[in-house]
Amino acid sequence: MEQLALTLPAEDTLVLLPKNPGTFFAFWRFSSGKEEAFLSSAFAPEVELRVFRSEDKSVFFQHRVFWRAGRAYLPVPERGGACEAVLYALRNGEWERLLDSNQAAAPESADRCDDRARASMEFMKGGSHEL
């Protein structure tokens, strides 16, 4: 997995970003205390990301992933709208809420938007070039 050659401060962060009408991108980091808890197996290695609609707090997707993965792609509710994510970890058989994300607005799918000429991408296709 590609990474930047840069050590980031150990701080609790969960960010949810819109990608397209079908997908959110989420990434997370932990404070050193929480990281230690994972390393010492106080938390189970799999964390659970729950994505819910901000409007009614209803969870529409749960996704389990290794705590160190640091990022995941998550689905968007069918009609779009504002969503949030929460990251849970399992300790002694109980799910513990560790990180809360920002609110992200999911795009609503538009008709006929895939067949348009797209900015400079059109000129980036094929061949070697500069700029």
Binding site: M1, E2, V15, L17, P18, F27, A106, M121
Partner: protein, 535 residues
């Protein structure tokens, strides 16, 4: 003659901030030099020529703050002069080398004119191309707008403080550069989300542009489609891009730039020339790369590079004039169709990256000049207007809630968030979050000059880490190491400076180096990142 439709033509001029004063030559600085010679000088020449002839261009130009800073950067101006001089030297050699080949020699001669024009304009304005743009705006010939401070894709900035910083730094930068308030705002990558309307309005902008499907892609909610301006609940004016006129110019397959007569972009003397002959012009590493001297035409969409035919500048310019006529004929037809179907005299909003004209599509500036000139000379019932003029003269626009969208591939944010580049975001957010936290902590404190400087520089580094250019370059696999290095360096610089301020241990030598290298936004105050209770 009454107009059957109005045209808003927006050219978005942007390059990422690339400034390496410690190196006598730096590969990525060539992006700027190429764009100046091939795009900015030809466009400014075209606008000045039209204005001198009494033909008001009426186009809208978005000058990104990063590009504006480079256009005013003295170190880059000196390197640019050397670049032009070096190309002119090579062209002289080419004219001699091509003596037995009059067709190719004619093209070399055309390049001599191009580079000499650049040298003349740079000399005339002492290397600062903001001056003629400012003069054109002052004379009412064009309207200049801005974009976010470092061209961040704003919907991907989850923190309101970060969005506010991008918008207000850009507003201040515009005021400093153009001595007036920015009338409008170009959303980087046309990327819109609902938060932006109020942020933009509160930052003093009157209007912005969205992608077509922000307005028109969701059925019949907006009966005028993209052919009228709108306003949001915050009172922000909105113009939606017309995809029909965009496709004719943007598409490399079906659009004008793919015409067989036009210059082939990918075949270049840097690859074709004898290695020892071109070596002095390739750069320190000696790798073959484009030199901007291209002698072949597109010839045909299926033809490979080796089978391209010689370029004929005169034939290509004649084709550009034909395409200009075709473009205008299509706009008239489009205006009539809209009038028949919707009962309105349409406003057609055509938005393009400025660098398409000249750099990618070599004949693009000639096409634009012909479009503007023909409306006047042929007395066509179309008019170019600026967004401010249109908003001032039209009826109160209808209110809309635009959809989340961008003009990128697939219409949303995929080019900037995908598996080729998503790993940069933890670093960008680490710098951004620490910047906000530190700004909140120190906003009301009396700081010594060194701490203040360090915090301001951390703000510059944070903004630079957020540029859309880095994930985009990673996505297309072009200059990926450079893009990765830039995100990493800016985030690391911001975090280091913020940590040093917190520990009251600022390394003044490093700070001075960063201030010299990343010397954008000289008036930036770190407090622009502080949270506000209500925005």
């Amino acid at each position: 003659m009454s107009s059957r439709g109005s045209l808003v033509l927006v050219l978005h001029a942007h390059l990422p901030f690339v400034n390496h004063p410690q190196d006598s030559a730096f590969l990525e600085e060539n992006w700027f030099f190429e764009a100046v010679v091939e795009t900015y000088v030809p466009l400014i020449s075209c606008l000045e020529r039209l204005a001198a002839e009494g033909i008001r261009p009426g186009v809208t130009i978005s000058v990104s703050p990063t590009l504006g800073a480079m256009l005013e950067n003295e170190a880059l101006e000196k390197k640019l002069a050397l670049y032009v001089e070096s190309r002119l030297e090579l062209i002289e050699k080419e004219l001699e080398r091509l003596q037995g080949d009059p067709v190719m020699q004619r093209t070399a001669s055309y390049y001599r004119d191009l580079y000499e024009s650049a040298a003349e304009m740079l000399h005339k304005y002492s290397g600062d191309l903001i001056t003629p743009l400012k003069a054109l705006q002052h004379a009412g010939q064009i309207e200049i707008i801005t974009t976010s401070a470092t061209h961040a894709v704003l919907p991907l900035l989850a923190r309101p403080e970060a969005v506010r910083a991008q918008l207000s730094v850009a507003a201040e930068d515009y005021l400093d550069r153009f001595n007036r308030k920015a009338p409008g705002f170009w959303l980087p990558e046309c990327a819109y989300d609902p938060r932006l309307s109020s942020y933009l309005k509160l930052s003093g902008y009157n209007y912005t542009f969205t992608e077509t499907h922000a307005i028109a892609g969701r059925g019949d909610r907006n009966p005028n489609g993209v052919y009228s301006p709108y306003r949001t609940t915050s009172g922000l004016g909105l113009f939606a891009r017309d995809s029909e006129s965009s496709r004719e110019v943007w598409s490399s397959q079906s659009g004008y730039p793919g015409d067989p007569a036009y210059r082939e972009f990918y075949r270049d003397l840097g690859y074709d020339g004898d290695y020892e002959y071109v070596r002095p012009y390739l750069g320190a590493d000696g790798n073959r790369r484009p030199l901007g001297l291209k002698y072949h035409r597109i010839t045909g969409s299926g033809s490979d590079l080796s089978s391209k035919l010689p370029y004929d500048p005169e034939a290509a310019l004649a084709r550009a004039a034909e395409h200009a006529s075709d473009f205008l004929a299509r706009r008239l037809r489009q205006a009539d169709e809209v009038y028949s179907s919707r009962g309105i005299r349409p406003l057609i909003v055509s938005c393009y990256d400025a660098e398409l004209f000249g750099h990618w599509w070599f004949e693009g500036p000639a096409f634009l000049e012909a479009v503007i000139r023909k409306i006047r000379q042929e007395r066509l019932p179309l008019q170019f207007v600026t967004p401010s003029e249109y908003l001032n003269s039209c009826q109160e626009p209808e209110e809309v809630t635009p959809a989340i969208s961008s003009w990128g591939e697939k219409g949303y944010f995929d080019p900037w968030v995908n598996e080729s580049n998503d790993y940069i975001y933890p670093a960008v957010y680490a710098a951004t979050d620490k910047m906000i936290e530190t700004a909140n902590r120190f906003r009301n404190q009396d700081l010594n000059s060194l701490a203040q400087r360090a915090l301001n520089q951390a703000g510059r580094e944070t903004l630079l880490s957020q540029s859309s250019d880095w994930p985009f370059l990673l996505y297309i696999g072009s200059h990926a190491d450079y893009a990765r290095g830039r995100v990493s360096d800016h985030a690391a610089n911001a975090l280091k400076l913020l940590s040093e301020v917190a520990e009251r241990n600022v390394d003044e030598r490093l700070l001075s180096e960063l201030e010299k290298k990343n010397n954008i936004f000289p008036r930036l105050d770190f407090r622009v990142f502080a949270s506000v209770s209500r925005f």
